[in-house]
Amino acid sequence: MAREGRRVSKAGERLVAHWSEASADLASRSEDVPFVRELRAHARLSLVEQGLPHTRLEAWRHTSLAALEAIDWATPDTAAIPLPDRLPELAFDPDAAARAVLVDGRLIARLSSPSVPGARISSIAQARSGGPEESLLGGVLGQLADPKLDAFTALNTALLDDGALIEIGRGQQLERPLHVVFAAATTRRLQCPRLAVMARAGSRGMLVVEHLTVGDGPHLTSLVTELIVEADARLDVIFLQREGDGSLLVSNVHARQSRDSRLAIHTLSIGGRLIRNSLACLLAETGSETDMRGLFVGAGDRHIDNHTIADHAAPHTTSRELYKGVLGGESRGVFCGRVIVRPGAQKADSTQSNPNLLLTARAEIDTQPQLEIYADDVKCSHGATIGRLDEDALFFLRSRGIGLDEARVLLTRGFASEILEALPGDGLRERVGAWVEAALEAAIPESIRGPR
């Protein structure tokens, strides 16, 4: 199906050929355990079979990869020295209980402190060549992310090298967050880190996943995250996407939830040139609950695409979804929220909402819900709005002496605050609040200079 009507650029084909070779080369150099070797080989075939996505595919209709294909990712600028030493001042959350720092996709041991009572973070590079973590890796890696269904999952798996393997122990209640930092440093390098998370039964934890860049790039990151949330576990995952203007990020997240588990995923897209998030949550067992929240802020010509799936496969499952977009400049946003209620998933309860604020005439948003409901006793609601700042509210603030520019900033911040306020942890909220504010300010000024 994908083959028909395919319009892949020559550059795209060259990239896929190069990455396929790189995958074979990596396989020949690595001493992977058998299941990893097999997974990688399948993924390589899937990648070649699919090629890079193009806008004639429904899921990529609004997101062109022309900007990605225009860059020669085959020749990273290895002369430029990555600056891992600059990272501490850039990134680290002082509240974190444990941290893993990956630069260009490789875990840097001396910047990481992976152990904390109740949880551990290990290197996937080590686990995939055998050792004590092998069976944990086998329980997560490739369990949810199928290379056949998505070209970037195929790419990431074909080039699987390193990443963070995380286990939160049975019944463990983590007080402080785990922190994983993905730093892109080398210009024109593709990094394919992997995140494999196992939240054991009855555990409670919080994971902060932060993307940032060192230098101007361009950088390309394909991240695949697999989250297994066992019965009664509660997991909060916060994706902080605050890369530099030259960065492209494709993030695929797959989650599977067992009985009475709770998963909250917060995705804050506040930096970078192109971001594509695909988030799929499988509510596999009864009583499981998913909360998906997102804030995306567009400035300049940033493009942010959020595709989500809430897959209700069991009765009495709940999904809540709120994505807010603030788009300035010539930025473009895409939101596609799919809700599936499978046969027999009675009493499924789903809400979805995607309000958007367009700050300029040239900013754009494409938003659409996709409901596929195969059970009859369900509650599903959805709604999307696209608007400008409320004129009555603007006038009210001005009538109290607040200047037009400041009033616009206040209202825009107010619009975004709902997502910020729901972030767990005071320290995190404060840290992220400052970045969001900076992102909003970058989105607003171009707009307020425009006609009133």
Binding site: D390, E391, F396, G414
Partner: protein, 249 residues
């Protein structure tokens, strides 16, 4: 303080105000009464500078300066305050933060130093007592989840904090029970003074039992059809507006 001369104004494309002359001096309280659709709210919106309301002829001078040439925020900083009939709810913008930003914008325009968080807290607590406003409302988003009475109290609180020269009250009594009305009027009366003028716009006479005006004007068909003292309000209460509207036609 305020000179309105032969004012004609539109709401959108529709001519509503059709020749108003009104002069308000410092220390005076004027009431404008009139039936629905007479142009009362248009007048208050024109004075505050709401977009969508345009002056087609005539002029408005505030302390000798052309009011219509000023942006709404400049009017506010110069001392004009409109207490809204329907205060807007603004999700995500903290009431306390807003009040402080508002007060400091006006203070810096007056050349006064901005208040820090501590000084502002002290001042706002003092003013909140006057309008019997529960302190938890300060931590919420502007007017969000406020009852009708709480929204009006919040309006008067803003007025008390900003200490404007000209207060315009647009149907401030609408939706208030008698206790809330008494509290709100108490807040307004606390601001009465020789340097301040008030323009009270109302459909009903009952607000004027609490905020006693020096002058009462009846607006009908976009014009002032009758002016008098406070006894005019009582007369209107008794006879309704019909007899004046006929006279105007």
């Amino acid at each position: 303080m305020l000179e309105i001369k032969n004012l004609h104004a539109n709401a959108g494309d529709k001519p509503i105000i059709k020749g108003i002359d009104l002069s308000i001096r410092a220390g005076e309280v004027h009431a404008i009464m009139g039936p629905n659709g007479s142009g009362k709210s248009t007048l208050s919106n024109v004075l505050a500078g709401r977009p969508g309301y345009t002056v087609t002829s005539g002029e408005v001078l505030f302390l000798g300066r052309d009011l219509c040439a000023m942006e709404p925020e400049v009017r506010a900083r110069e001392g004009i305050f409109l207490a809204f009939q329907y205060p807007v709810e603004i999700p995500g913008v903290n009431n306390n933060y807003f009040l402080k930003a508002s007060l400091n914008a006006i203070r810096s325009h007056r050349g006064e130093p901005e208040l820090d968080a501590m000084d502002f807290l002290k001042l706002s607590k003092e003013k909140m007592k006057l309008v019997e406003m529960p302190s938890e409302l300060m931590g919420r988003a502007i007017n969000q989840g406020f009852s009708g009475g709480e929204k009006k109290r919040n309006e008067i609180l803003q007025m008390l904090l900003l200490e404007p020269k000209l207060c315009i009250l647009d149907e401030t009594d609408s939706g208030l029970d008698i206790d809330a009305l008494r509290v709100v009027a108490g807040g307004v009366n606390a601001l009465r003074g020789p340097d301040r003028a008030m323009l009270v716009i109302t459909h009903y006479q009952r607000l004027l039992d609490y905020i006693v005006p020096d002058h009462v004007h009846v607006l009908s068909g976009g014009r002032i059809v009758k002016s008098g003292g406070k006894e005019l309000a009582l007369e209107l209460e008794e006879k309704g507006y019909g007899w004046l509207e006929k006279g105007a036609a």
